[in-house]
């Protein structure tokens, strides 16, 4: 298992899980807030739609194409 931080809370996930999986395992699955103030969640699952972009250790990354790493800090309200 890998421990990471999602929106300030500690979360343990199976090694090999994507950050997109962590969003569902530790939260409601949503990844960002749109310009029209709607919450959004991963859609295409393959790095095209950009809906799953989150902040990981301060960098904007795609949750669906990033594997969880120990100590990673993921923010969905950045």
């Amino acid at each position: 298992m890998i421990e990471l931080i999602l929106d300030g809370l500690a979360l343990r996930v199976a090694a090999g899980s994507t950050v997109a999986a962590a969003l569902y395992l530790g939260g409601d699955g949503s990844s960002r807030t749109s310009v029209g103030d709607q919450r959004r969640a991963p859609v295409c699952g393959m790095g095209i739609c950009q809906e799953c972009r989150v902040s990981i250790d301060g960098q904007r990354r795609l949750a669906c194409q990033t594997l969880c790493q120990p100590g990673m800090c993921v923010e969905t309200h950045a």
Partner: protein
């Protein structure tokens, strides 16, 4: 920092892997670039909940064993840095790759069409759901509906069921006559007939399509038009995709000719631009069998092994016929153009509604009146939708080709170190 390659391949799905392995005996320096954390593309996507077929494992093992092939995973093409040079970026660095020859194996994405509620959390693509499940997204015990068109709906349903989800309905927009005609042709491709029989699901309905995703904060139910009747199904997820679109952005940016919606290639899988080749879904939908053969032809052609490439032409023809049949059978019903309401968002990146762009004459007009297509996905989602809805041609890609760090883009301004 720069790196030189005799042959650079963009994409590590079936086409890209087959291309690299076909070219490997030449001993040339081969680089394979892929944006996912692991090779395999979409159909052979690996992950914590993935079950890779034996052929996928064989290809990955052969790729890893070839000493002259270097795989760069989690790496994106950011821009064209000069003649036969690409700017690449991974999580840590950006660098220029120089190449003598390039093979584009950039695959396909799902055609996602706007309908009321499609931006609610809980709504994904059909292949999108499958990819998310493989990456570890939990769906056990969840009620879900799959809708759209094409064989991907059945594959997505199979993955969801295997992960413990309850698939309540699979809504295929194609009419029953088209599906029956397709089924009658299947014995020409026995492996596909077997696959169809294995994937068959009692909740499958033809002549059925989504009307709306319902819910406040997230998806609560789906409204379907099911063979002329209106039905509402409470569910937690809707996986909806209307077939596949070739990923042509990089090919277009390089100046390769586009035919229809795909990168145009000749019998050698060569593009209109010399020393550039393309194979797999970016040259038109065909499935993994066709992608593997096209990839191998491109790999052989790129190293001058014309006889080996030519020997594969009959196999390519066999699987191209399957792809053509598939394309005809799952042609989209023009009624799907009426799904979006005036306030339905078309551009999900910039929250631009159907009503804001419906009167526009094309992409340029839409961009002058709104920010449609100018967000993070750079029109990859709404561009496919507006092509279907309004017949607007695919927007011309602009650099950066994918969102990139400022430090990476600054490299474009630096003088080129290598010669």
């Amino acid at each position: 920092m720069n790196e030189d390659f005799d042959l650079l391949i963009i994409g590590a799905g079936p086409a890209g892997m087959a291309a690299a392995l076909a070219a490997a005996p030449s001993g040339l320096r081969i680089g394979v670039i892929d944006d996912n954390p692991l090779p395999g593309g979409q159909i052979w996507r690996d992950g914590v909940h993935a079950h890779l077929p034996a052929n996928a494992r064989r290809h990955r093992a052969a790729l890893a064993a070839a000493e002259n092939i270097r795989l760069f995973s989690a790496t994106r093409v950011v821009a064209i840095a000069g003649p036969q040079q690409l700017l690449l970026e991974d999580d840590e660095r950006a660098w220029r790759a120089h190449y003598a020859k390039l093979i584009l194996c950039t695959g396909a994405r799902e055609l996602l069409l706007p309908f009321p509620g499609w931006t609610l959390p809980g709504v994904t693509g059909a292949g999108g759901l499958q990819a998310l499940i493989k990456g570890g997204v939990p769906v056990a015990g969840e009620r879900l509906v799959i809708a759209g068109s094409g064989p991907l709906l059945l594959a997505s349903a199979a993955s969801a069921k295997q992960a413990g989800a309850k698939v309540l309905r699979i809504a295929e927009q194609a009419p029953p006559a088209a599906l029956a005609a397709f089924a009658l042709q299947l014995p020409r491709w026995p492996s596909k007939l077997l696959q169809a029989l294995q994937l068959f699901d009692a909740s499958y309905r033809s002549n059925s399509h989504v009307l709306a995703a319902l819910g406040e904060e997230r998806l609560e139910a789906v409204r379907l038009q099911q063979n002329g009747k209106l039905v509402e199904i409470p569910c937690k997820r809707l996986a909806c995709g209307f077939g596949l679109l070739p990923n042509t952005h990089l090919g277009q940016a390089l100046g390769c000719r586009i035919a229809g919606q795909a990168i145009a290639v000749d019998q050698w899988q060569a593009c209109s631009l010399s020393d550039h080749y393309a194979a797999g879904e970016c040259t038109g939908f065909g499935g993994s069998e066709l992608a593997l053969i096209e990839g191998a032809i491109a790999g052989h052609s790129a190293i001058g092994a014309q006889a080996k490439a030519r020997a594969l032409w009959p196999q390519r023809q066999h699987w191209q016929a399957f792809a053509d049949r598939l394309g005809r059978s799952f042609a989209l019903d023009p009624r799907l153009k009426q799904l979006a309401a005036a306030d339905t968002l078309v551009c999900r990146c910039e929250d631009v509604s159907y009503g804001e762009i419906a009167g526009c004459s094309g992409w340029v007009d839409a961009k002058l009146h709104s920010r449609c297509g100018m967000g993070a996905c750079q029109g990859r989602i709404c561009g496919g939708a507006t092509q279907f809805l309004f017949d607007w041609p695919t927007p011309t890609p602009r650099p950066p080709l994918s969102p990139a760090r400022i430090e990476s883009l600054l490299q474009l301004a630096e003088p080129d170190e290598a010669g």
